[in-house]
Symmetry: C2
Subunit: 415 residues, 2 copies
């Protein structure tokens, strides 16, 4: 059960003009489950993305990056990418040249069915690493996916990209910018191997404004840094993380510069929706029973604030204490202390658990009562706030606890 | 149950001339358990240590460092330190000025009983962080500890420093160097919050050679880097890590320079014993069911080899796969890929599980059979070997798996 994260209602997910989604049951790893998704784009669409920095980045990531780069430098980037194809059940990572050939074969098969070039397709995969991609099953499933193409298909699309997720992650927003209506819809998946570095294990967000390619590229990086790059479940950065922003261009709003109020408003809407999708991944993190916000304030720079926030968010001891609702909060101090900020003066540091001041000037707050810590630890949503007392920078990340269920899921994942 | 680590036999632990050990039940946290230890040193002893780099380093660590530094620069370092006093049940960390006062009060009480200066005592604590040290109970227990002082008391000493350890960790060696017999005995504790950075959560090793202070300091750093600094259970660097080397000077061997064959032989014996004690901590890691050696070879430098080894050793996904005996080995590639070695060319990388070549040139070895991986994964001791193909450096660390029991222990530790 995800933490305070109801399953999205299909009727609440809005079609975005200029994009159709078609799912299929291709039997990539298991039969009778949606495991293939095609997202078909209008010829007006621009696409930008960020990808994992894992050195073992998957074959489809390599191919998508190359195709996006070719689209980016082409004379007309709008329409250069015509479809995205996503399979679950196999990550096509650690698969060497055979993996690249399989990713390319997937693109070629879809391109032939759609009457476009293979370079106009972006492939994505998620699932088990180090196993050969059953490319024949995927290409055999493509006609079914194309037959299912509909604008109003975001719920099935969210289901089609799930792996150990317990529920689909999708959301929509409708905003009015400069008097023009923009509809945004997005889907994501996560569950485990989640500590995105540049992007997350598959997030796709589309809206129907028209956005120039360099502007969209700026937006996708900015958005990722405020959403998917702020979450961690287990500190494992996947080989397949990808976050794609799709501006279908089918609506009336046009954004051609980042120095406009329209850009700022659109970017704010995209960021809000991305944060929702990123947080949904944490709420449905493998075995999660609590949703934890870690905020580090008054740091010298953002980097040190993030270092400390991740150190807390990754500590198995902190995470098991949250699972147990045990205010064993010295573990948080230990995690701060080993975060690698070597000139940190702990005598200036305060630690809050929600509104409770636990540690003051580096030591236990004399007024702190264990009952107060206990009260907050029992909540399903908790904010850890660290004040470093050495500057004006701040950073926030979102994480979850470490439960028996995480071990069970990951000791059983393949079997 | 610790992994292939029988409980030491008390009769196998050798007295070391020049050191006596006395334990007590002081009731620091719980009644009726050995939780206080005094190690009394001959006036010929030199002492050197390494301590945690955690910025929240505990009050006793700060006091021990100061007392050691004073001893180091004194006219005659031999005999400058007369005793070590160790309590479990409370870490005296995150306790601010009150914590420092408590650590000093412990030293003063023991000094008065022994007729020496407080600065000649080194205090150590381990247990829960952020709770006031019950210093009165500790000082009240000191007379009992002094009454119990015996040279042949290493087994009780090992028991007296246990926290969540399931068994005491102790070992002895007798070596002959330059025709002279040297006896070495050591104890350690660990169990959780184990990723020592400079040292570990309490390791003490004594031998009866006479070693000059600067030589002993060189030896303790060299030894820590090859033993306690090569282990990790959960990546959590404790606030209290301390590893102390004690040369009692009561034997016949004298070592006054690191450029002698005697130094090399003694250092080798100390390192071997330290590795045994460090590995014993991993074998008895919280919830451990497997003992894993991670070796990274053919790297550009030791630092990158260690980065990759720790990335593998800390990955919850890799650790749960070991627990499940599931050869889901793509998780190891993912951990290598996100280790932060940004110019790593994965196409040159090979991965072995014991003798099985799993990945070759960055992709699945075509000859690899899952049955071979499965065979190795079922073992209680497994070596992961990564060949980077880019240099001559290498590093080895030791770690364990992540089991349900780890979560249980750490969700229950304080309650």
């Amino acid at each position: 059960m995800a933490v305070n994260s109801p399953i999205p209602v299909a009727a609440d997910l809005k079609p975005v003009a200029g994009i159709e989604l078609g799912h299929a049951e291709a039997g990539v790893r298991k039969a009778n489950r949606k495991d293939l998704l095609v997202m078909k784009l209008a010829s007006t669409a621009t696409v930008a993305g960020v990808f994992t920095l894992n050195r073992f980045c998957a074959a489809p990531v390599q191919v998508s990056k190359a195709h996006l780069e070719a689209a980016r430098i082409s004379d007309e980037s709008a329409g250069a990418i015509r479809a995205l194809v996503i399979n679950t059940g196999n990550a096509n990572a650690g698969t060497g040249d055979a993996g690249l050939a399989a990713a390319n074969a997937t693109c070629e098969a879809l391109a032939e069915l759609m009457g476009c070039d293979a370079a106009q397709i972006l492939p994505f995969s998620t699932g088990v690493i180090l196993e050969p991609l059953p490319v024949d099953r995927i290409t055999a499933g493509l006609p079914q996916a194309l037959k299912n193409l509909q604008a109003d298909n975001w719920f099935n699309a969210a289901e089609a990209i799930m792996t150990t997720d317990t529920q689909p992650k999708a959301a929509s927003r409708v905003v009015t910018i400069a008097g023009k209506t923009v509809t945004l819809s997005g889907i994501s998946k996560g569950a485990g191997m989640i500590k995105p570095n540049m992007a997350t294990m598959l997030g796709f967000l589309a809206f129907d404004a028209k956005v120039a390619q360099p502007v969209l590229e700026h937006m996708v990086k900015q958005t990722a840094d405020k959403s998917f790059n702020c979450i961690t479940i287990d500190g494992d950065t996947s080989t397949n993380d990808s976050f794609m922003l799709i501006a279908t261009g089918a609506g009336t709003l046009e954004v051609n510069s980042i120095d406009t109020p329209e850009y700022a408003e659109l970017a704010a809407a995209v960021t809000a929706l991305s944060q929702h999708l990123a947080q949904a991944i944490i709420r449905d993190g493998e075995g999660a029973t609590k949703f934890i916000t870690v905020t580090v304030e008054d740091g010298k720079d953002v980097e040190e604030c993030r270092k400390i926030a991740y150190s807390i968010g990754h500590s198995p001891l902190v995470k098991t204490a949250f699972f147990a609702s045990d205010p064993n909060l010295g573990r948080i101090l230990a995690a701060i202390g080993y975060a690698g900020v070597n000139d940190l003066d702990v005598s200036k540091l305060d630690l809050y658990l929600d509104d409770v001041l636990v540690a003051k000037s580096g030591g236990r707050n004399p007024a702190y009562q264990e009952a107060d810590g206990q009260r907050v630890m029992k909540q399903s949503e908790i904010t850890v706030r660290v004040k470093l007392g050495r500057g004006n920078a701040a950073a926030t990340i979102w994480t979850c606890d470490l439960s028996h269920e995480y071990v069970t899921i990951n000791a059983d994942y393949r079997s």
